[in-house]
């Protein structure tokens, strides 16, 4: 007889951790770290901070703007926090999936460096690169391997250390329009991690991962957020790797930029992606208890709410959670930092559902994950 059941396991989030370097920095403390204290820059910064609504954030920079830690250290500290939360040791981890926009070094991959610092035993690695949505891309890979039964326990971390590239020395003698200011006064540092397992936590609630979905619309959109290129068109011989480092720096290629004129399109496209989830039945708005959404600024949140209310009047925006205002925009780490805080502050109850939503401006990507809060096995009673 041929056995062909094709059964998969279930993936649960069982441990949560975050690491935010240093003390929180309020809006008045930014200039000491990132520079840009001339009157013009000051005005632009105030305007952008008013729009994005961020009141405090963390930088891995001291009060003079000098780096205090590596990105890989932020990642490892968030991972250790997640392991402590779950009560495990790094030696139990069989796979590590890391997401970051930019690691500390060009080569090797970020996950190799994080594993080297973390320790533990032999493990599979994934370095998911990209921007904000890479956090859920890493989660998707972890969940898939757990479901296949290939790994019983996988650690996922999103980590960003953007601040060092936001300092004044990068902007000296550079044409810096709104495309760079927008990000300079928005991005900050931090890391968030989760533990993914094939069994729920033995003695407290877990988050079952129902599905993860990521969609890119790069086929119909130009580059929106970029570094390492001049303009939004990639040109043979014209990337930072071709023209020489000095020329690349002089032409401002090392400044992170965002084409702010397409951000309305991004918000619109994100709403359409959400509508599609509703349309195909992956999300039932009547049984959706929480939305943990990564958005880069409150302006996006307001645009999204308006758009959603027009289409889905029954959608209760009180269910939406974000800690953007107090933790800043930490890119690929944001969704995990938000999830950790929502989780540890007791927002979720067994039986409730959660949608994680991460729009990415890079070149129009959207990632979602649907979670269900499950009670520990000993409180579910004998089943079946």
């Amino acid at each position: 007889m041929v056995v062909s059941m094709g059964s998969t396991a279930t993936a649960y989030l069982t441990g949560f951790g975050r690491y935010l370097p240093g003390d929180p920095v309020d809006n008045d403390g930014i200039a000491a770290r990132l520079g840009g204290d001339d009157a013009v820059t000051e005005r632009i910064r105030r305007r952008i901070l008013d729009a994005n609504g961020i009141r405090q954030r963390h930088y891995a920079l001291d009060e003079h703007g000098e780096p205090t830690e590596l990105n890989e250290e932020l990642a490892v500290k968030a991972l250790r926090a997640a392991f402590d939360d779950r009560g495990i040791d790094a030696s139990e981890v069989r796979m590590l999936a890391c997401a970051t926009t930019m690691g500390d070094v060009l080569v090797p991959g970020f996950a190799s460096m994080v594993h080297g610092r973390l320790g533990g035993g032999p493990m599979q690695l994934l370095s998911a690169s990209g921007v904000c949505a890479s956090g859920l891309a890493a989660l998707d890979a972890a969940v898939s391997k757990v479901r296949l039964g290939d790994h019983p326990l996988v650690a996922v971390v999103g980590s960003e250390l953007a601040s060092r590239s936001l300092r004044q020395r990068r902007f000296d003698h550079i044409r810096a329009g709104m495309d760079s200011h927008f990000l300079r006064w928005m991005l900050s540092d931090g890391a968030g991690a989760v533990v993914v397992e094939f069994q729920p936590h033995p003695s407290r609630p877990s988050l079952r991962v129902d599905w993860v979905r990521q969609v890119s619309l790069a086929h119909e959109h130009d580059v929106c957020m970029r570094a390492g290129m001049d303009g939004t068109e990639p040109v043979v011989g014209g990337t930072w790797q071709d023209v020489g480092v000095a020329q690349a720096e002089a032409s401002g290629m090392f400044v992170l930029r965002q084409d702010v004129t397409v951000l309305d399109d991004l918000a619109e496209a994100g709403i359409r992606q959400f509508e599609e989830l509703v349309d195909i039945g992956l999300v039932d708005v009547h049984h959706l208890d929480h939305v943990v959404c990564h958005y880069s600024t409150n302006a996006f949140r307001d645009a999204a709410f308006d758009g959603l209310r027009r289409r889905i009047p029954s959608l209760d925006t009180d269910k939406w959670y974000s800690n953007l205002e107090t933790r800043g925009n930490t890119g690929a780490a944001s969704i995990f930092i938000a999830l950790e805080e929502a989780w540890s502050t007791g927002r979720f109850r067994p039986g409730e559902t959660i949608l994680l939503a991460v729009p990415e401006s890079g070149r129009f990507s959207f990632a979602f994950a649907h979670l269900t809060v499950v009670a520990p096995p000993d409180q579910q009673g004998a089943s079946k």
């Binding site: 056995v3 059941m5 296949l148 039964g149 019983p152 069994q199």
Partner: protein, 233 residues
């Protein structure tokens, strides 16, 4: 024990064969009664089994499963030329099973177990008794009675293991790659059970051999259940 290799008295032998299957059927019923009292199988049945139960079961089984191919090989070496067919069957069977424990080990690792700890493990009380008995029996000249052991062990694989695998999957939400060992045995052991039936109906088994086969099946049924009862002891 002797094996009648003449071709006479076919009618008498057919009668013996049906009696032998009846007697083995009774042993199987005894085995099922033993299994109903095994705690881990009771928990599996009523849906309260835990991942730790499954991990322990694999850990305990592994320590005896690694001996499976060796005792069959040893039995093969003790069949003389008059028992060539049984020797051939044992050699083939030993070869087919000698990598099975690796599948079990992969399952154990896939649910979070440590391979080093698994390999450093020792047999439980039931496994000691079962393994000791099998090797002792396999050391005898022409150990035909071991066909009774095969009847029990392969029968468990063919008739019960896949059901256990499916139930562990159902209760604990396991992927196929975490229950390979038990799933695989439905297929492999059904084949072996077919081979066994062919031998038992071949006319090679005389009355004395049949008695030995039934007795060995009884002992192995009890010891196998003991192995499942004595997890970690």
């Amino acid at each position: 024990m002797t094996i009648d290799t003449t071709t006479a008295a076919d009618d008498l032998r057919s009668a013996d064969v049906s009696t032998l299957f009846e007697r083995l059927g009774e042993v199987w019923v005894e085995l099922e009664e033993y299994l109903e009292r095994v705690p881990v199988l009771r928990r599996l049945g009523d849906g309260t089994v835990t991942i730790d139960d499954y991990r322990r079961l694999l850990f305990n089984l592994r320590q005896q499963v690694v001996d499976g191919s060796p005792w069959i090989s040893r039995a093969a070496s003790n069949f003389d030329i008059d028992h060539f067919e049984l020797r051939a069957a044992a050699i083939k069977h030993a070869e087919e099973e000698h990598r099975d424990y690796l599948m079990l080990e992969r399952d154990y690792v896939a649910i979070g177990g440590s391979l080093a700890e698994l390999r450093a493990g020792r047999k439980n009380l039931g496994s000691e008794a079962l393994s000791g008995y099998m090797f002792h029996y396999a050391d005898q000249p022409n150990p035909v009675g071991l066909l009774g052991a095969m009847f029990i062990i392969e029968g468990l694989g063919a008739k019960r293991a896949a059901g256990w695998a499916g139930r562990f999957q159902e209760v604990l939400g396991l992927a196929d790659s975490q229950v390979h060992f038990m799933q695989y045995h439905q297929e492999a052991d059904s084949e072996h059970t077919g081979d066994l039936e062919a031998i038992l109906t071949s006319g090679m088994i005389d009355d004395a051999a049949a008695d030995e086969i039934v007795r060995c099946a009884q002992v192995v049924a009890r010891l196998y259940a003991l192995q499942l009862e004595e997890l970690d002891r």
